[in-house]
């Protein structure tokens, strides 16, 4: 096996052309998967320390988040706390402190786990993903990107995320077997725009319900144009329970998750910032 530590995104993408190449982020998933024999890359391209991929910055009305930003960096960021609260909350609850210090948001997407914590938050925040490959750059809505199978073509590097800053409120909550255990059993992210008490726009995303995190525009549509009051909240909770019941159908986890999502949704709504 070969190991490379490129000094630029350019170089990383060039190295990514090698047969059997895999990009290595924090390693919290990949190192384990290699050891378990689930993946056998012939060549590791370690990008976890590339400065270009570690930036969190505001660029006009867009927040740019490098793919190698760690969950600790997410949860330590005042900028994210103020402007992308759902992601900030996801950063705080993902894994244990030691996992958060290594694990990256790009790795969270690239690993393709149904339970990836950052993904529902980024979906609710309407993030775009920027990809880099020999073919050039591609900017694609995360929601659209998640419909791809396989997720990433060989040699494609997750470069950064673009999160629009629209002044929306957002929240995130999850259910795990143990707080510091890396895997969410169920997660909910909500982002909404209000004028006075009226919900003008809304995005609702779910994680660990099915193969990949997803947005539910149909659920959201029922709650736009209405007053954000106790009825709204109660119906949103029961609406998410129906949605999860329909999505999971006869799966073994359905009876549990279809009920539990109500509590997780309740918590996500409680965590919306003022």
């Amino acid at each position: 096996m070969d190991y490379f530590r490129p000094r630029s995104v350019e170089e990383a993408v060039t190295l990514g052309q090698s047969p059997g190449a895999a990009f290595l982020g924090g390693g919290t998933d990949l190192v384990l998967q290699m050891r378990q024999g689930k993946v056998n890359p012939q060549c590791l391209i370690d990008v976890h320390n590339l400065a270009e991929l570690k930036e969190i910055r505001r660029n006009g009305d867009v927040l740019e988040l490098g793919s190698m930003v760690t969950f600790s960096e997410v949860s330590d960021s005042n900028l994210l706390q103020d402007s992308a609260r759902a992601l900030w909350l996801a950063g705080q609850t993902m894994g244990s402190p030691a996992i958060r210090n290594q694990a990256t948001i790009g790795g969270n997407l690239g690993n393709g786990s149904p339970a990836a914590d950052a993904i529902p938050a980024l979906l609710a925040l309407d993030a775009e993903v920027c990809l880099r490959s020999q073919a050039g750059e591609e900017v694609i809505s995360l929601a659209v990107f998640l419909e791809r199978y396989p997720l990433l073509a060989p040699g494609t590097l997750i470069w950064k995320f673009l999160v629009p800053l629209r002044g929306w409120q957002s929240g995130f909550a999850k259910l795990g077997r143990r707080r510091a255990l890396a895997i969410a059993r169920l997660s909910v992210a909500v982002a909404l725009k209000t004028e006075g008490e009226t919900v003008m726009d809304l995005r609702v995303a779910f994680g660990a319900v099915g193969k990949r995190a997803f947005l539910s525009p149909a659920l959201a549509a029922r709650f736009i144009g209405r007053e954000l009051d106790v009825h709204w909240r109660t119906e949103m909770i029961s609406g998410s329970q129906e949605l999860v019941r329909e999505t999971l159908k006869t799966r073994a986890s359905a009876p549990y998750k279809a009920v539990a999502v109500g509590g997780v949704m309740h918590q996500a709504l409680m965590l919306l910032q003022e």
């Binding site: 190991y3 924090g26 190192v31 590791l44 370690d46 402190p97 030691a98 290594q102």
Partner: protein, 154 residues
Amino acid sequence: MNIELRVNEQDFRLVVEPDERLLDVLRNRLGLIGTKEGCGEGECGACTILMDGKAVNSCLVLAAQAVGHELMTIEGVGDRLHPHPLQKSFVELGAVQCGFCTPGMILSAKALLDRNSQPSEEEIKEAMSGNLCRCTGYDKIVKAVQRAAEEVAR
């Protein structure tokens, strides 16, 4: 592949496999066996070390990824004659029973105290949430960290 690691303020030149875990290099090549392997999948925290002052699970990091970072294992925290306040308080308050989780516990606690010298009980529990102990019931561990924080503050 040839790498250089800086561990406990010492530099080491090593030949390692590209897919060799930092945990294995610390234990097998450097003889720093204070770092333990429990679950081997980032759940138990027995292999916790500090990388640039931050706690990481050395079972989930490749040795090659640690190049250029400052590493600290339990051997670098203190010794029999000069124990760190955490090591002293863990012993004095009975926070060590079988001792397998202790190096990881001490390093997670050190990462906390180094950035927050007066943590609340909740902050201590959060900082130690990735470290499992099957003996003590955690109560004595939390108290030991509180005692060490008092001593560090003094």
